[in-house]
């Protein structure tokens, strides 16, 4: 789950990481009590806001208020800006990068820091980034902080301040079940103080049950994706026009790939999971219909899942509310013959071969 910058900074502040003074605003009238110059930043859960014009500097309250009103309502790569963060601009002497994430292959937290802050870390050459794993069941070891201070060329007092921030960041990373905590840039001001000018925080969705305070936070989902999530169905909207329903995430991905191999393009990824509950199948089709696909491709590999039970769910949706696009079903596994017959009787294409089903789907998209 991604956090808005202002939300991340609230948490940073609570952990003792210095952040600029600022206010959250929804209109130009909301800003008071700040020293100028300020920076006005769109609060959206997607990168690239600066390029899109979602970040503006202002030297006076009038200018700031104008900037707020300009940014509110702006569309940034499909996301409408509803809030902006207005912050006192830092006097930048130097910009650093500091991040903690999870290294999948090492199965351990990883601290990364660089003296080349303010740009995307992926564009920084490897030899300009210091990486140190943090042992599980540990605090952030002092040697990591000594190495980092040396690597960044920090003076003694700067090193102390930097280390305090890194330690706070690791505490936050652990306590809040973060996948990624990142400050970029971490600014050293002309007064010799560090301040987190930007803040990126992603927490683990699977750990939400122990972070009630994060529940209900806005996420970067489309309305349909949000609706599916509330019903416990994994649905992802994509660029294409073909709706794919399959059981299992890997199989759903493989089905989308197969469609592309045959010249089509997937528009919806819907993972039914291990269920053959007709009610859940009906729910899946209802959601899929809302995405208005050109054709629906149902791919069921029934191991434990009973194919005829899935087919029954499809039939019920058809009888009760109708399905106004073609459905191609690829059915394989337990009770596949019964399932195929049921779907054919309902007027759908039903075959056993994934390849043939994909060809049929692409042909029918019309």
């Amino acid at each position: 789950m991604k956090f808005h910058e202002y939300k991340a900074k609230e948490l940073f502040g609570a952990y003792g990481i210095p952040v600029p003074r600022g206010v959250l605003a929804t209109s130009g009238k909301d800003i008071e009590g700040l020293d100028y110059p300020v920076v006005v930043k769109a609060q959206v859960l997607i990168g690239g806001r600066k390029k899109a014009g979602g970040v503006k500097f202002a030297d006076s309250p009038e200018e700031a208020s104008r900037a707020v009103d300009e940014i509110i309502g702006m569309d940034i790569r499909g996301y409408e800006v509803r809030q902006v963060l207005v912050e006192e601009a830092a006097e930048i002497s130097k910009e650093y990068y500091l991040g903690i994430t999870i290294d999948r292959e090492e199965r351990a937290p990883l601290l990364m820091t660089s003296a080349e802050g303010g740009v995307e870390i992926e564009s920084v050459p490897d030899d300009k980034i210091l990486k140190r794993h943090i042992p599980p069941f540990s605090v952030l070891p002092p040697y990591v902080l000594r190495d980092a201070s040396k690597f960044l060329g920090l003076a003694k007092e700067e090193g102390k301040a930097f280390s305090a921030i890194a330690r706070a960041m690791f505490r936050l990373f652990e306590k809040e079940d973060a996948e990624l905590v990142e400050i970029n840039p971490l600014v050293l001001t002309s007064k010799g103080e560090f301040v987190a000018v930007d803040a990126k925080l992603m927490s683990d969705d699977s750990a939400l049950y122990r972070h009630k305070e994060f529940q209900g936070m806005e996420q970067d989902l489309t309305p349909l994706e949000r609706e599916a999530e509330s019903k416990g169905i994994a649905l992802i909207q994509l660029d294409g026009d073909i709706g794919v329903i399959a059981n299992g995430a890997g199989l759903t991905m493989a089905t989308l790939d197969m469609i592309s191999l045959k010249g089509g393009k997937g528009g919806v990824f819907l993972d039914l999971g291990g269920t053959d509950d007709p009610e859940k199948v009906k729910e899946a089709f209802r959601l899929m219909k809302k995405a208005k696909p050109s054709v629906i491709f149902l791919n069921i590999f029934g191991g434990i899942t009973r194919c005829d039970s899935v087919a029954q769910g499809v039939k019920e949706v058809l009888d009760e509310e109708g399905i106004d696009v073609a459905v191609v079903a690829r059915i394989k596994g337990v009770h596949e013959d019964e399932a195929k017959q049921l779907l054919r009787d309902a007027g759908f294409v039903a075959v056993s071969s994934l390849e043939r089903a994909a060809e049929e789907t692409v042909r029918l998209r019309g």
Partner: protein, 286 residues
Amino acid sequence: MSILVDENSRVIIQGITGHQGMFHAKAMLGYGTKVVAGVTPGKAGETVHGVPVFDSVHGAVKSTDADTSMILVPAPFALDASFEAIDAGIGLIVIITERIPFHDAIRIMAYARQKGTTIIGPNCPGVISPDKCKVGIMPSGIFEQGTVGVVSRSGTLTYEIVNAITESGLGQSTCVGIGGDPIIGSNIVEVLKMFEEDEETESIVIVGEIGGTAEENAAEHIKGMRKSVYAYIAGRTAPPGKRMGHAGAIIARGKGTAESKIAALNEAGVDVAKHPAEIAELIKGG
């Protein structure tokens, strides 16, 4: 031979008294797996399909000499259940549970490494050595004993590929579902090493997907292997930044694309199938 599990494995199920636990205990017993005990705190003395239930893993191990555990408890209890099994001296733990927090998974793997315990999963279908032993939730009917070792990050997609292998007349030595999470106990390379040493396994199939660099690391390792390796990678058309159903299936910051994995595997001499069923043709042709 086979890897990880065979006819001698003595298996306990943690969470056996739950709905899933009872269902899969029955299926595993039916397959011939020696399910020697179940563990559910507070339910000692009960039986599930004739299998005795214990209060603790220590108690179950003491009474039954169990060496393998399958964990089916809900995610909030998986850390505790795993620690308990590791501490009780279980050698192989198969964690089926999905949605275990990453930070818990990191701790489970760290403790397992300290104690020398092998972990498979979490968020996986389990391990099966056909006709010998099944420790997992996969449908038994599609597997047949044979010489192909399968290691997979997926569930149903594995069944799809295994089915194609079986239908083509080849069978499997062992099929290992390593799980779709970012933090897993055994990665592709670790399972490849086991297959390389297994006499029964003649060729190996990797079922990979987008996210992380496990397939790239595997490609590097394969360069030094004797046995033939084939692969299928799901997610060629997945967009960056979206988690494709599995927690680990995400192209993040330019890393984890299918192209990168396929290129690395090809460079290591691995034939990568364009679609799942093609795997069987590649093995037969190879």
